[in-house]
Structure formats: C-alpha cells, structure tokens
Symmetry: D2
Amino acid sequence: MSSRIPDEVSRIFASAPFIADLGIRLESSGPGACTTVLPLERRHLQQDGYVHAGVQATIADHTAGAAAASLVKEGQYVLSAEFKINLLRAAKGERLVCRSKVLKAGSQLIVAESEVFCVASGEERLVSKATVTLAVVAPRPAPPG
Amino acid sequence: MSSRIPDEVSRIFASAPFIADLGIRLESSGPGACTTVLPLERRHLQQDGYVHAGVQATIADHTAGAAAASLVKEGQYVLSAEFKINLLRAAKGERLVCRSKVLKAGSQLIVAESEVFCVASGEERLVSKATVTLAVVAPRPAPPG
Amino acid sequence: MSSRIPDEVSRIFASAPFIADLGIRLESSGPGACTTVLPLERRHLQQDGYVHAGVQATIADHTAGAAAASLVKEGQYVLSAEFKINLLRAAKGERLVCRSKVLKAGSQLIVAESEVFCVASGEERLVSKATVTLAVVAPRPAPPG
Amino acid sequence: MSSRIPDEVSRIFASAPFIADLGIRLESSGPGACTTVLPLERRHLQQDGYVHAGVQATIADHTAGAAAASLVKEGQYVLSAEFKINLLRAAKGERLVCRSKVLKAGSQLIVAESEVFCVASGEERLVSKATVTLAVVAPRPAPPG
C-alpha cells in the first residue's frame, strides 16, 4: 500500500476479519474516495449462481466506510449508521470492483455512494448501487485539568 | 428440516454457497415468516471487534427472501430488488438471530422486514433492522401451441 | 394540546408552515412515540386519484421527527438525516393516520419507524412504512468564561 | 410543453393535484431523464426556516417517476414502490431544481436517481439525493378471443 493511504483507511482493510475472509482488497484510495476489488469464487454465490446480495452489500458498505475514513481527523473513526442498496442486474463474472465517493462530509455524519461493477470477459457492468450514512465517532476529549 | 417447509424455502438455504460459507442456518419457517441463526466466529467481525454490517445485511436479506419465498406460487421465485438496513447497536455476542416477516405480498413485489438480534450471555438485543423489496419472478408461460 | 406534550414536539407542529399548509395535525405524543392525522383533500392526490407518495413521505418524516424530539434534552433538536419509505398499497380514503415510534435513541442519532394508515369507510389499512434517521443537534456550549 | 415530451410524462405533471398545489413545474424531459423546478415560498418550509424534507421528497419522487415514465411502452405507467432520500444540507433559497435519471430500466422495475439542488443568489447546491424504485404497471392483455 502506498504511503499516501491514510492510516485509518489502511487499518480498515488490514484488520477487518470479514473483509479478509471474503477476499476484498483495497485497490486505491484518495480524499473522499476508495476503490476495492473482490475476485469472485463459488462461495460468494447465491442459490441461482449469481453473486449474493450480501457480498455486494458488504463491499459497498466497507468501501464507502474507507472513502469516509479518508476524511476524518486523526483519532476519529467512522461507523455505518445505515445503508440502502439497489440490486440492478444479476452479477456473474470474474470479479467485483467497487468505487465509492463521499457525497457530503459533515462533522457528525458522512454520506457516501458506492457503485459495484461486475467484470466478465473484460467488460464491466454496474450491478448495484448503494448510499451509505456513516457516523463520525470522536474520542471524548480528556477532562480539563 | 420439517416437511412443512416449502420447497422453495429449503432450496434457498440448501443451495446458496455464500449462506453455507457464512454458517447461516434455517431455524423455522411459516407462511410469510422465517427465522435464521448464525453462530458467530472471529471471521464475521469488523476491524473493531463487532459483527460486520455486511454479515448483518446478508442474514437480513436472505431471511427476508425466505419469508417471501414461502408465499409464491410453485415455479415462481423471488429476487432482492433492494434493501435498506439500519445498524442500531454494536453487535457482539455468541450468535445472531434474524426474524423476518412479510409486510405486503403483491403479485409483482413482496416487501419484508428483518430484525437482527445479537445474543450475548443469553440476552437478546435488537442490533439492526432492514426493509427488503423482492421481485416475484415468474417463469414465462410456454408459447401457445 | 395537552400540557404533557413536550415543548419541542409542540413547536414542531405549531411552527412548520408546510405541515400547517398540508393540514397535518398532532393527535397524541408520548415518550418516543407520536400519532398524527391528515384529513384528505383532492389537492393531496397523485394523477391516478391516490394519495401522492410525497404526502405519505411528509407525514411519515414529520411524525418520526416528533417522536424523536420527545426524547431529546432541553435545547437540543432533531434533523432528518435520511429516510426510506415503502409504498405498500394504493391509498384512497378520508384520512391518513401516522404512528411513529423510536427504535433506537442514541446521543448522536435517533432511528424511528412510521406506519402510515389510510382510513376509508371506517376501515384502516397500512399503506406505507418508513424508517427515518435523525441527527440530534446540540447547541454549542457557551465558551467558558 | 414541447411536443417531444412523451404523453405519459405530460400527463404526470398536468393531472397530479399535489404537484400543481406545491407549484412543481416540468422543465425538460428526455429518454430516461427529467428536470423540474419549484419556486420556493414560505409554505414549503420546516419550523426552522429551511425547505421541509417532505417537499424535497415529493419533487425527488415525482421527477424520478417522470424520468421512468419516459421509457415505458404505450399504455404502461409507473408507480413508486419505494424511495430513500438523504438530506445532505439545509436548503434555503429561491427555488429547488431536481434532476432525475434512470439507472436501470427493466421490464418490471425501473430504478432512478434524483438530485435536488437549492438555488440561492444564483448559486446551486446539492441539498438531497434520492434513489427511487418504480414498478412498471402493464394493462392486462385482452383475453384471446
């Protein structure tokens, strides 16, 4: 990982067991943006052979969280408060690519969008889109004195 | 599994690789309702030690799908069109229990709600709640002939 | 209005021009709960003769806000951060009744649910359901000194 | 209105009482896209002097419906099944402008996005963003005969 990736973004990928278990990898990160990739395996599928909505939701939520985390102050972190995802097309292919960007960064809430693409035979198609609201959690200031 | 569980509900759990991989199990099923359980392991967690939102989204979506599938006609199946989940409390414990029920069953769309509880030391707490919209997919009628 | 209704709840109904313009009235309020009523007129309708989704969204959002406002500390207020509404059935009748309750009240965010019913010939039917996330906004503490 | 505007889009604006009552006007329409405008008045406001979330939800939903309606076959129409809106910034100004575009048009469901801008002193700011799922309603085919 490039040294330009903020510590909080790196931490989100390096130390989240569920993300490592699924195989989601950080591709790139910038201020208010993040891209991730998931090489697809049989275990990611639904009963009909397509990528499970839960896999798409996980990459959409986590990548949005990383995009948001790139904007918070040192010591702050973000927590997903809610998200909504529309499953637009059946997803079948070699890998998912998720691109998230922050729509609005407030001091208390950050709203980000994630677009999930499925790559099949080199062609990329938008398969789902999510909107994620994240709470900015600040450590409490030390008491005066 | 009890023989009272509709074929389509059984199929949804028996043949979805992602659900088997995560460890989500069908607990009970009735008309327009479904309950599932997920014994929690380290691999289900977020970087902060709590259950990942993607795990909660997966169990909420899949259980809602099963509740909806219990109501469709033979040969029809359901596909998640979209869902929204609110993460209400940090989830830490031994297992998740998800209870889904259908709010409205139409011929084209079914709307279901899922409540995800986390059980810790025998105590159950609501950790997230989702609303799921499912499309009822009908096989095309054979051409007249 | 009864004196038991918190000031912040009363204020939300007494001084919101859009709510007065539509005709939405506070019916009752308790800790973390609120009920409102809207007598339906032709101007509330969609092109097909049913109540417009925007009217249902407005009563669902505003009533959830009032349910949340009943729980905040003096001087704090709430702002809708986002909401999602499912339109379950075509709404036609004499009035809408909206019942909202708080699902989770945190110090930073409150999540509430609203059920919107349409009353026709004395019969009440659930026509839409919404989940609303509200930010608790605290006035800044006066600077020491 | 230009004759290039599809009949179903024109109908949606010409004959929806709630839209006429609020003052929402069709600005332009193309395949899978629609833009509307609402000159703001005091009656559109919330208790805090900002545009009510219900007004923003109404313009977001209705404009998305018009964008979707531009794509359906003759005789078909669209109905909002659900929507989700994030209120990103307090809205204060002279008018709202809403731009909607279709993300995915299926035979059964259409998903559209709406961006709501508030114009103040000639400057446009994104104040909310919505995702809308619409059901395509087809008249039943006449029985063979």
